[in-house]
């Protein structure tokens, strides 16, 4: 019996990935800021109910890649996509011009690097999206707000002060509030762009814990500078460099037995 530290590269081993359904399929995605090609022919699969981490040095395109998923790039003129991102189960290409970015964002939520609560109460921060979606019943909104705050592991800390301003919360609490706000829309896929880089280690641990529990209901893509964070909370890891996908695989394989020299050099800190 030969046991590889990770199965990739071992001809005998069956990859475990086959049985896991795919949430989103990226096919030959390129992205241009004007003339500058920021992403080059990236293809990978985002698995359902799993955490996929995107790692790479600054400027490698990982945030650009993440932002393609909710069409934030559409807000600026001159930006252009090539290729497709097909969201399953309905197999819709979310980059297609016929697809309304608002519809995409209803299905794919985003949490930013800096906590970005709206300048209103804790309750309203979560209720806002629900009202936009036409949920009018006060009781239904209150129910959903509570449910979302519980899912974001924030309810017990804020249930007695829902009418206070969100800005009174600590950084870690604000970030969990933003996660609750995203969860209120029942997203299928959640995007995290460096969600803990502005937080202290304890708040970071609580967000990481939350990410692990969220994957029961939602698929997650996370960009992180912190490689240990990728190793701790992701199931799959993609390493991007200069706009290209260098390696994509199970996180254990990437961190124990990477297939390429570039990945090895990056994750071991040998990158110049």
């Amino acid at each position: 019996m030969i046991v590889n530290s990770a199965d990739a590269g071992n001809l005998d081993a069956q990859p475990h990935t086959e049985a896991i359904p795919i949430k989103a399929e990226v096919n030959k995605l390129s992205f241009y800021y004007g003339d500058f090609r920021s992403l080059k022919d990236i293809s990978l699969s985002v698995h359902s109910n799993r955490v996929t981490a995107l790692i790479g040095p600054s400027g490698c395109g990982k945030s650009t890649f993440l932002r393609c998923f909710n069409r934030i790039h559409d807000l600026y003129p001159g930006n252009r996509y090539e290729g497709s991102i097909r969201l399953h189960p309905d197999n819709v290409d979310i980059l297609s011009r016929e697809v309304d970015p608002i519809d995409v964002r209803m299905r794919i939520g985003m949490v930013f690097q800096k906590p970005s609560p709206f300048p209103t109460t804790i309750f309203e921060n979560v209720a806002y999206g629900l009202r936009l979606r036409g949920l009018a019943s006060r009781a239904a909104v209150a129910d959903k707000v509570e449910q979302s705050l519980r899912a974001a592991a924030l309810w017990d800390e804020v249930k007695d002060r829902l009418d206070e301003l969100a800005s009174n919360l600590s950084g870690g609490q604000q970030q969990r509030l933003c996660i609750a706000r995203a969860l209120a829309a029942d997203p299928e896929l959640l995007l995290f762009d460096e969600p803990t880089s502005a937080l202290d280690p304890i708040a970071t641990a609580s967000i990481e814990e939350l990410i692990s529990s969220l994957k029961e209901t939602v698929s997650i893509l996370i960009v992180t500078h912190n490689m240990q964070q990728a190793a701790r909370c992701s199931d799959y890891t993609a390493f991007l460099y200069l706009g290209e996908l260098v390696e994509f695989g199970e996180t254990d394989q990437i961190f124990i037995r990477p297939a390429t020299r570039q990945t090895e050099d990056y994750i071991t800190g040998r990158f110049g």
């Binding site: 030969i2 530290s5 490689m227 124990i256 037995r257």
Partner: protein
């Protein structure tokens, strides 16, 4: 494994130091084994005492290297090839310490033999000598493979362990024959069994070191594989 330099020169230095230290410990154990075999074969009490004394040094090196390994895990959070090297060192340290223990057993048997040799007939077996040489050769080869992180050389060491195991079986059969023929040889023969067993265990530990080398170099865990499976896994890389 990558051979490029880390952004942290200090980290490079620490890894280099770790490799140097495990190879140094390997050198001490190797010398210990040579002396232990010589002390048994001559027999030589002074040499046997040296071996028994040097075991304390080996034990200290084990504790110190383990401390360095734990420190590096905490401070560097190693990944990929670095992680495999550090884990491989931790495993190899244990093998070397045990080889030291086995060498000490052989030296003790040498001392016992010296005390008794005028009063009893002792079986002197050529096989014990040749299996001791084979085990020592395996250890040397495993340490060489470690120094170069040479998976193919390590695979060859793993193959050699079969020979040492077979020699042990053959020694055992001969000693049983001795004991049946002349009950006066029972006591020294049993001693020879312990020595042969210690040599056989040293071969096992050298083989384990070779397996750790393959893990470090290629990430494959071949600890419970047959030599043929190991050879195939190594050649696939």
């Amino acid at each position: 494994m990558s051979n490029g330099e880390h952004l942290s020169k200090q980290y490079d230095h620490e890894l280099e130091e770790l490799r140097a230290r495990i190879l140094h410990m390997g050198g001490v154990v190797e010398a210990q084994l040579q002396s232990a075999i010589a002390s048994y074969e001559r027999p030589d009490v002074k040499l046997a005492d040296d071996v028994i004394d040097s075991d304390r040094r080996v034990n200290e090196q084990q504790v110190e290297l383990d401390r360095v390994v734990v420190n590096m895990i905490v401070r560097r959070q190693p990944t990929a090839g670095d992680l495999r090297l550090i884990i491989g060192v931790a495993r190899t340290v244990t093998e070397l310490e045990r080889i030291g223990d086995e060498a000490t057993k052989i030296a003790r048997a040498g001392k016992w033999l010296f005390d008794k040799q005028r009063s009893v007939r002792t079986p002197r077996l050529r096989e014990i000598h040749s299996s001791a040489l084979a085990a020592a050769r395996m250890l040397r080869g495993a340490l060489d493979a470690f120094a170069r992180l040479d998976a193919a050389a390590a695979a060859a060491i793993i193959e050699e362990d079969r020979g040492v195991d077979q020699q042990f079986q053959s020694i055992l059969r001969q000693l049983i024959t001795f004991m049946m023929e002349d009950p006066r040889t029972i006591s020294p023969s049993l001693d020879a069994v312990w020595v042969a067993k210690a040599i056989e265990r040293i071969g096992d530990h050298a083989k384990n070191i070779a397996e750790h080398v393959i893990f470090i170099a290629q990430g494959a865990d071949v600890r419970h594989a047959t030599p043929e499976e190991v050879a195939r896994a190594v050649s696939q890389e």
